[in-house]
Symmetry: C2
Subunit: 208 residues, 2 copies
DNA sequence: TATAAATTTGACCAAATGGTCAAATGACGT
DNA sequence: ACGTCATTTGACCATTTGGTCAAATTTATA
């Protein structure tokens, strides 16, 4: 309708379809295993068209990863939802669980990227993530000093949260196998979320 | 010395060197990213020689994964070290942490394999792992019934343990970045191990 | 030492892959 | 209708990859 919108629409729609296909293929096959041909086929465009929108496979991958980064940062904000450690941690862990559930493919790509040594997002680790961690480490230390949390190295806590929540994206197939072949349904996932929150908070919070 | 040993020695030594190289390359590059040429070069043998000992890249990969499987099972036995849940969990979590620390490459391959949907070890998931989990679920349920553990779905607990311990292999690079660029030293790792054990047990054990 | 078996290796191959290109097609403002 | 720009696409290419092969070399056995 809008004249300034119609033109970009083609581009936007194609990029969206390609990014969606790329996310699926990269998540399933990894960076090296994913082929531009497979991504293009899944997106329903000729391979040459993919290279028209994204000059190289790496550029496409980078775009996919940057999407995840945005989601990661959004979830990270939940940590600041409250000055009370129980509430803050519950919000943060819950947000991370929801992220793994809502965007399992993206989450898996994120994990794979970190496992590979973060060749693409090293810059993010060095800057944004380092800053975030440094700042929230202080919050945790304040809670410990205030007697609200048992003494724990904040990073150990963060690593546990990151790993446990990611697990629900990374190991979805393993979980399905151990669940009689069926993926976790919503109810089971919500129970797991509540129990993860309770267990971690129970493990580090001082008696009420 | 022994005549029945000298012959196998050549074969055994070459296979060992190739498996070691394969472990490193597969861990760094993933299955698709790893090339037989790179593995052979790292092992110091011509590529054709690699294919003399391992007919295909997948056969080589399978051997590497089977090694990890052995280590996984060994660590799993620690769970049965005691009838007391605190002791049993401490032993199991400790063993899994040590495994991630001692064999980070193998551990990463294991995680990658599970993230890919376990194309090679599906059989293990269906049989050995399913049995192990079913049996230990019962142990956890008994502990809960005996009032020694808070109510929790055993699988949620296992997933948390698996994820958290694996993290120390999978995210070693990320941890190093957040540690000023240096990998965790032994002391920091031992502290982390103790805190992981304490936090998880503290999160699910009933008050003493 | 003669013979058979195991091992090594350079050369080679077919298939797959990321990426290019130029020609064709479509959209849009004038 | 025309010219310009964005988009589409089949054909094509150089490189890489997993894997093969036959000839050479080493090792064990009789």
């Amino acid at each position: 309708m809008d004249q300034r919108n119609r033109r970009p629409t083609v581009r936007a729609e194609n990029e969206r379809a390609l990014l969606e296909a790329a996310e699926a293929i990269f998540a399933e096959q990894g960076f090296s295993g994913a082929t531009t041909a497979a991504i293009a086929k899944r997106a329903g465009v000729p391979k040459a068209n993919l290279h028209y929108y994204f000059p190289t496979k790496e550029a496409l991958y980078r775009c996919v990863v940057e999407r995840v980064l945005t989601a990661w940062l959004a979830a990270a904000q939940s940590f600041d939802a409250s000055e009370d450690p129980r509430e803050a941690l519950a919000a943060y862990i819950g947000a991370k669980m929801d992220l793994a559930r809502a965007m399992p493919l993206a989450s898996r790509i994120w994990s794979a990227e970190i496992m590979r040594g973060a060749p693409i997002i090293q810059d993010f680790l060095d800057t944004t993530l380092s800053d975030w961690v440094a700042s929230r480490e202080n919050a945790v230390k304040r809670w410990i000093a205030a007697g609200k949390l048992k003494p724990i190295e904040p990073k150990v806590l963060f690593y546990m949260i990151w790993a446990t929540t990611q697990q629900y994206a990374n190991a979805a197939h393993e979980m399905a196998t151990l669940n009689g072949g069926f993926p976790l349904d919503d109810a089971a996932f919500e129970r797991a979320k509540a129990q993860v929150i309770e267990t971690i908070i129970g493990g580090i919070a001082t008696a009420t």
